[in-house]
């Protein structure tokens, strides 16, 4: 991370060892400090701001007079690093856009803030020229369409609590919310959950261990992942081959296999439970490993050669797919559901049909147990399309897995589970003797033989390794499968994806795109992209909003508000005829009965969400969730609405209002503002718009943001503090009720700056939905989707503007250029598919930076 260049230490101050940078920065940004002979002359040699000898160049002036607040331009960046806190980043593009030819004049008159005399005349001219020289084109111009090879970042990251929970659900069917126990260790980057830089300490590890113990105990009780029916070693190997392959997202080393086998053999009665505890606390489960191997090793191992084999992957075999039917899902037949098993108390059968097609061979696994009469135990018979494939004597009261290999069958034949040897021996009659109980039946198919591809190994940008830099690292196919799964579903890779990795079928763009499409379109994929919009717009904040004066603002209503926006986003994401612009500009939203009742929308609603044409609301901004979250107990929060709508919908960066901007007269100005409010309230109740305007108007230190960027946007007051639309009070006004009194409030607003807070474009609007409609088709909204989408999917910042200063991120020159080209391709994909976010994410997921790392 580049260090901001510091001005020379003021001569009158005592020498401090540390932290010189911060103290100097603070003082420099706040203005004068005592000590010089003439405190008003910044050129006095003893003045703390005196920079010493006069600089010669624009960059020298900048470093001497500006960098203490703005930081430095790193490499070829067009935005500075900001001060030690990451504040006051200077965007060269925005500065030139805003001031045009008047940039030097602006610097001359106003900068450095508080002491403009320090940079006037020649200083201002050269500094302005230097800033102009930092301007970079917004749209990259040197992207080679024939070379799309790009590189991501090697990573070893803990699972987020959400990924951890999803993975447990996927591999074991866990229902309890165990992720909550480790959620306090979650990290974030750029507003999205991200574990980069997070580690495990002893307290966190204890939480993982406690979770693993409870999950393991539950799993064993419920026969998950399967019930050991025989030899400990066989059970252990099956555990490694089937369960660990899923849990560890790839094959297990021989040493790890031996360790787990030893565990089963040492504790035969407890092996499954202990093995599960070990698996769920293993680093192979807890970390996403996306480190890869060097290119030479990858080539040696034959990665991405598309020959249908994956010789470098090692490990044991597994079935390509597993489908399971539990007793609770058995169709009506003989017997009945008895707890969580199907009880055959008399001779009889049930017939099952799987959706997955049989392969040749296919294995049917039946979890069953029995009760005996003396030495008479039940027999389990399995038929496929009427043909008997096996009979097993179920001679144990413990759930045990019985396997039947079926050969020569494809398609979806009928599977029949039969109990045929009910004894009925006197004095015992039917139902009082040997019985058969079946818990579940699993269909385990085998991977199909891949067809060899006739094409040569494709280049790096197209899925292979040709032309990849020698110092690059290449993810193994299993690591790539894991990266794709978490990127597109927030969960561990499923069996088909792992099978594709095993068969080296994640090589060509077409192969990857097939998996990507499947994952995105899966239920987990849909949920994952709904989570994207939830985190992006911080929708969950509404669930924490307390409004005691509105008892009907219940947890159910709040949850429905979140779902409303999630459903809307899913609609524009998945529906080809719904372009992204409808997310902001559509004339509809998604309502269920709960929400419709709360909003006062009439119609025929159920508990399911349906697309509903409405006026005045729709999209992430003009929504109950956004408006209720950006409000207070008895008032709305027009400041929060203005700032958050810019930050979320347009990706604008707004400096936090921190201490260096406070002025000397702020106490008096603030007191005057309070006096104005008090006087006006004597005349009558103040609308929230006027209330907050009066508090922030006339305070010089705050005007930089409030006068131009925030307060003019106070035109979203058509929504009350719980997200309902207020009644109109005439054109462009609404009625607000404060402490039982009504007051008219204007809905007129102006957005100054669309692409950034500095660009000259303006948008005038009346009300939140009008604001949303008018920005819907702007490039800024589209660009923000691309930027946020890239961050969510990869965890990386797209541009310097997206860097998370609080977490000390930085971009190399190579990354800036490469990511700019990726952004360009993502935008092309978005626009080529009727502005489809789905197409955009597919394009991103097929980029080589997933597979190639540095």
């Amino acid at each position: 991370m580049p260090t901001p260049t510091r001005p020379p230490a003021p001569r009158h101050r005592a020498t401090l060892t540390l932290p010189l940078v911060l103290l100097t920065t603070t003082i420099a940004c706040k203005g004068l400090v005592g000590g010089p002979e003439d405190p008003n002359d910044p050129h006095d040699p003893n003045h703390p701001e005196n920079p010493g000898p006069e600089p010669e160049t624009g960059v020298a002036f900048f470093e001497a007079r500006c960098a203490s607040c703005h930081g430095a331009f790193a490499g070829s960046a067009d935005i500075t690093t900001g001060n030690a806190n990451g504040d006051f980043r200077l965007d060269a593009n925005a500065a030139v856009q805003r001031h045009g030819d008047g940039l030097a004049g602006y610097i001359d008159a106003a900068m450095p803030q508080g002491t403009p005399a320090l940079c006037q005349g020649r200083c201002a001219e050269l500094t302005a020229a230097y800033i102009r020289g930092r301007v970079r084109p917004v749209v990259p111009t040197n992207c080679d369409p024939n070379d799309t090879t790009t590189y991501g970042v090697r990573e070893l990251k803990l699972l987020t609590s959400h990924e951890y929970q999803r993975s447990l659900e996927a591999i074991l069917g866990v229902q309890a919310n165990v992720g909550a126990a480790v959620a306090n260790n979650d990290g974030a980057l750029g507003g999205f959950a991200n574990m980069r830089g997070k580690g495990i300490n002893s307290a966190t590890l204890e939480s993982y261990i406690a979770n693993a113990e409870s999950v393991a105990s539950w799993a064993v009780t419920n026969g998950r992942p399967f019930t050991c029916g025989g030899h400990a070693t066989a059970c252990a190997n099956r555990f490694v081959d089937e369960f660990l392959f899923l849990a560890f997202r790839g094959p297990v080393s021989d040493d790890q296999r031996a360790a787990f086998v030893a565990l089963f053999e040492a504790y035969p009665a407890d092996g499954m439970r202990l093995a599960l505890e070990a698996a769920l606390t293993s680093p192979y489960f807890l970390y996403r490993v996306e480190a890869g191997v060097d290119l030479a090793t990858a080539l040696e191992r034959g990665y991405y050669t598309n020959t249908g084999t994956n010789p470098g992957s090692g490990g044991g075999p597994m079935g390509a797919a597993t489908e399971r039917i539990d007793a609770a899902a058995f169709p009506p037949g003989s017997g009945r559901l008895d707890g969580d098993v199907w009880g055959f108390f008399e001779n009889g059968a049930v017939e099952l049909t799987f959706t997955a097609p049989f392969t040749d061979p296919t294995t049917l696994e039946v979890d069953a147990r029995g009760t005996n009469h003396d030495a008479h135990w039940p027999e389990l018979t399995v038929r496929v399309d009427g043909q008997q494939v096996g009979v097993a004597r179920v001679d144990t009261t413990a759930l045990t897995t019985y396997r039947f290999v079926v050969e020569g069958r494809t398609g979806t034949p009928r599977v029949r589970i039969e109990f045929n040897n009910d004894s009925g021996v006197p004095p015992y009659g039917p139902g009082q003797d040997a019985n058969l109980f079946v818990a579940s039946v699993r269909l385990v198919t085998t991977a199909a033989e891949p067809e060899p591809e006739p094409e040569p190994t494709p280049p790096g940008g197209e899925g292979g390794l040709v032309g990849v830099d020698a110092d690059a690292y290449v993810l193994s196919p299993y690591e790539l499968a894991s990266a794709l799964a978490f990127m597109l579903t927030g969960s561990t890779p499923d069996a088909p994806l792992l099978a594709a990795a095993r068969a080296d079928q994640l090589t060509t763009r077409a192969q990857i795109e097939a998996q990507v499409t499947r994952l995105i379109d899966s239920p987990h994929g849909r949920e994952h992209f709904e989570d994207f919009v939830t985190q992006w717009f911080d929708l969950d904040e509404v669930t924490r909003a307390a409004r005691p004066d509105v008892p009907e603002f219940t947890p159910a209503v709040k949850a429905a508000m979140v779902e409303e926006v999630r459903q809307h986003f899913a609609h524009v994401f998945y529906e080809d005829d719904a372009p992204y612009s409808e997310f902001f500009g559509g004339d509809y939203t998604f309502l269920n009965r709960t929400l419709a009742d709360f909003y006062g929308v009439t119609g025929n609603f159920s508990d399911a969400f349906t697309k509903t044409t409405v006026e005045g609301r729709g999209g992430p901004i003009a929504s109950g969730a956004f408006m209720a979250a950006n409000a207070h107990v008895e008032r709305t929060a027009p400041i929060l609405r203005a700032v958050h709508s810019r930050q979320t919908a347009l990706c604008h960066y707004i400096d936090p209002p921190n201490s260096p901007i406070a002025g000397e007269d702020i106490d008096a100005q603030r007191a005057a503002a309070q006096e104005r409010v008090a006087q006006r309230e004597q005349e009558g109740v103040l609308s929230s718009r006027e209330f907050y305007f009066l508090y922030t108007d006339g305070i010089e230190a705050c005007a930089g943001c409030h006068a131009k960027i925030i307060n003019p946007m106070f035109g979203m007051e058509d929504f009350d503090h719980v997200g309902r639309l207020r009644p109109a009070a005439g054109a462009g006004t609404a009625l607000e009720t404060i402490r039982g009194e009504e007051v008219a409030v204007s809905l007129e607003g102006t957005l100054f700056g669309v692409d950034s807070t500095s660009d000259p474009a303006t948008v005038m609007y009346s009300g939140a939905k009008d604001f949303s409609n008018r920005i819907a088709e702007t490039d800024a909204v589209k660009s923000c989707l691309v930027r946020r989408g890239f961050r969510y999917a990869t965890g990386l910042a797209f541009t310097d503007r997206d860097l998370d200063a609080a977490n000390r991120e930085s971009l190399s020159e190579e990354q800036r250029e490469a990511y700019a080209c990726i952004a360009s391709r993502m935008t092309e994909a978005l626009e080529a598919a009727n502005d489809s976010p789905r197409a955009m994410f597919i394009a991103l997921a097929t980029e080589s930076l997933l597979r190639l790392r540095r």
């Binding site: 991370m1 401090l16 060892t17 540390l18 932290p19 911060l22 603070t26 806190n85 504040d87 090697r154 070893l156 306090n184 979650d186 990290g187 974030a188 830089g197 997070k198 580690g199 495990i200 300490n201 002893s202 307290a203 590890l205 939480s207 261990i209 406690a210 080393s253 790890q256 360790a259 787990f260 565990l263 040492a266 504790y267 407890d270 202990l274 505890e277 070990a278 606390t281 293993s282 680093p283 192979y284 480190a291 924490r544 307390a546 207070h632 107990v633 008895e634 936090p656 209002p657 921190n658 201490s659 260096p660 901007i661 406070a662 603030r670 309070q674 907050y692 508090y695 230190a701 000390r808």
Partner: protein, 434 residues
Amino acid sequence: MKDTNTIVNRSRRDFLGLVGKAGIGAALLRAAPLVGGVMATRSARAQSRGPARVVFVYTPDGAPNGLWLPSGSTLNVATQAYAGLEAICNFREVEVVGSGHGLARKCLGELRWSQDWTSDTIDQQVASVLGATTPYESYTVGVQTNPQEVIGRKSGDAVPVQNSPAAAYEQLFGGAPPTSDTAGFLARKQSVMDVNRAALAELKGRLGAFERETLEKHETALRQVEQRLVDSVNFEPAEGCDAPPWNAGGHATDGGEATPFLHTAELQSDVIVAALSCGLTNVMTLQLGWHQATWYGHDTNYGGDHHGSCHAASAADNAEMTNYLSRCVAYLVRRLMEADDPAAPGTKMIDNTVVVQVTDMGDGRDHSGGNGPNMIATRHPGFKQGTVSSGGNNLEVLEAVVEGLGLGMYKGTDADAHKIWPCAGGSVATELLA
């Protein structure tokens, strides 16, 4: 220059010697939660300087100028909650360096950017010394904090905050091992850990230097957890420490926003006092909310959230909300005054524990840094009591805390020899020291 590592290691050797005399394996480096806590207590008792503990308490958004600092012995509007505690409190208004939104970690002294201890917040640095002989080096609890702002930093990583008093209580005092077949229980758990230890070693070998530090931290954590487990099966917890009494008020213990802020703060304070008394740690951090201050006072006249009281209410409203936070801190101080100190019979916990209140702004109403409220409450002999002062900055207060605790020898800028960074460059608020 003194080798503070040697000093800390000697403390550990003394501790282990005591453990050996007690008939427990001398190979222990970290004891199990409860048995370790007892042994740490006995060790502290044997020290000539007595036990030393500290609780850092973060309150957001400073205080309204002119309404916090007492005048002589007369409390102010925002400090009314300390009535009856004036004699042991030291109130000081300071310049809060690097103040503002999202900068809470800076008020705990995090001013540098690095991946080693030199950028740790002060609570972690102090814990590296005071926590050498306790099961937990430090522990952080919170009330309605937010993942966007976590106050503690250790080795460049945010220190997790436990917002649920129930979860904190369970982790610190729950999870007792079975009383029968303890050997078998221990063997099984260690077998599981051995598998994971092997996996970590294998992964380290596979990745080489890449993320080695991350995996080594994981290995350290595994070692610590195993040590705690080893001793927990062979030891009886000290009286009252297997299930310390708490929650006399019968409040909800999940720390959710439906529970009044003060009630959760009280529960967390109960956890703090119990953890310190049982020797589980000597350093705790209590993060009360976060900079956006979205919490509400449940019995305040002002009905908005704390943030609203800063920007859209009167100074009196803001002072009331600030005093609400003072009530949270005052509860902790009173509990420490009531609780006997097992490590120093005849004394109370407050005699050997320092409560340090820090904040991220001077006056939250304009985010300025001046007149920032800091407070130290203790009867520890290293500190004065009952003072009111102003001047200097908050970092000098933190350096005073280090000096007052007798940890000055660990302070310095030599990464190899020191453990506590002089965040104020060596400048100390000596007005707070005895």
